[in-house]
Symmetry: C2
Subunit: 227 residues, 2 copies
């Protein structure tokens, strides 16, 4: 007997996988399914809503619910702090601040943050190590306006300090691959040109830019997820 919304979800998914309902098909209305399964419409709604969020179904008012024609797999990635990422692998985490100075950011960074060209920002470069071997090279630009007090970034990583002290409202993340420059290779103790996994993150607090960071991960780094 089908009772909970998870059972409904599973059954609907089964029918889709089994091609009872094929991509593009309109499936029965919530009301009809509620009747069939002997549950309230809200329960069916919950099940179908979850499937729509996962990209399996497409729903439009009045038009009904259809099996997604182009199943864009929607995967959720967990993006932890570098420290937790490393500790989670059972390795010892350490951290070194390599440089800290006011400077004017490269045009690409200023543009991403929506700041004027000549603006001065705090530029940090630091290295995250796992079992004393370089794991991630962090290159960060900070908007000094968001720093009421200026912490000692030798002691606490910028990321953790920001999380604990600066509110932020939105951010975007981009993932890519890049060959290590000579500098990066030297700092990460890798052959020049090694393929690095790059995470670029930019965050704002409302309209105020906060920070723009590039995390370069050594080869062997993987992000995993399940669908």
């Amino acid at each position: 007997m089908l009772a909970g919304w998870e059972d409904i979800r599973a059954e609907v998914l089964r029918r889709i996988r089994a091609h009872d309902w094929r991509p593009g098909d309109t499936i029965p209305t919530e009301e009809a399914l509620a009747l069939e399964f002997g549950v309230a419409r809200a329960t069916v709604n919950r099940a179908l809503r979850e499937l729509a969020e996962e990209g399996v179904l497409e729903r439009r008012r009045k038009a009904g619910t259809r099996v997604a024609l182009h199943p864009v797999r929607r995967a959720t990635l967990d993006i932890p702090l570098t420290r937790l990422e490393i500790e989670g692998r059972g390795q010892a985490y350490s951290y070194r601040l390599l440089s800290e100075e006011m400077a004017s950011p490269p045009p690409a960074v200023a543009a991403r943050l929506g700041l004027p060209q000549g603006a001065q920002m705090l530029h940090l470069v630091c290295l995250h190590l796992a079992d004393d071997r370089p794991a991630v090279l962090e290159d960060r630009w900070l908007n000094p306006e968001t720093l009421k007090v200026q912490p000692d970034f030798h002691l606490v990583s910028a990321n953790e300090w920001l999380l604990a002290n600066v509110p932020y409202t939105t951010g975007d993340i981009s993932l890519s691959a890049a060959n290590a420059t000579a500098d990066e290779a030297r700092l990460l103790d890798l052959p020049p040109g090694s393929a690095l996994f790059i995470i670029d993150r930019t965050t704002w607090d409302r309209d105020h830019p906060v920070t723009c960071v590039r995390l370069a991960h050594v080869p062997g780094f993987r992000m995993r997820t399940t669908v």
Copy 2:
């Protein structure tokens, strides 16, 4: 006045960002918040549940709702078909099957799919092009048992054929970076050692392995998301 669950969600998020409620704090119960905001408990529940799914809150029965201590940002990535990805950028898509043969997969692939070492699988190598320039090199191993009829993979890409014809229940995805091998560089028309963005995907239909694919993307490829 706060009315909908999205308003509740926004207000709770505001309080967290503003550090009214700090990481680790237990926030008021659903009932208390429902009273404060003048809505039903179900509405508060919906708002808090969404925030918990995003990783902002942690909820446990009886223990209550706490602001996540280690804010693992949970980002959702859309992983479209390569064809749609390219067409979505306004480029012309084309596709070439480079090779198709039965062979026994490398141990890593067999292990990932849970197949015995010597098993024969269908091995496809193909190239996806954007505006006639190589964009993605696809290296795929297919379990022949899942192919009732064998389509002509010259005409339709394996990915699209599978989506339309083979049900699947679970899959996992891993993202990484790798230097192009000599072969890959030649096929993608890149200098050897170029940093490729690699998407490895493995899918099963219940317990039956379906396919294991490696998509190597040329430099410049990015996956984006917003948090």
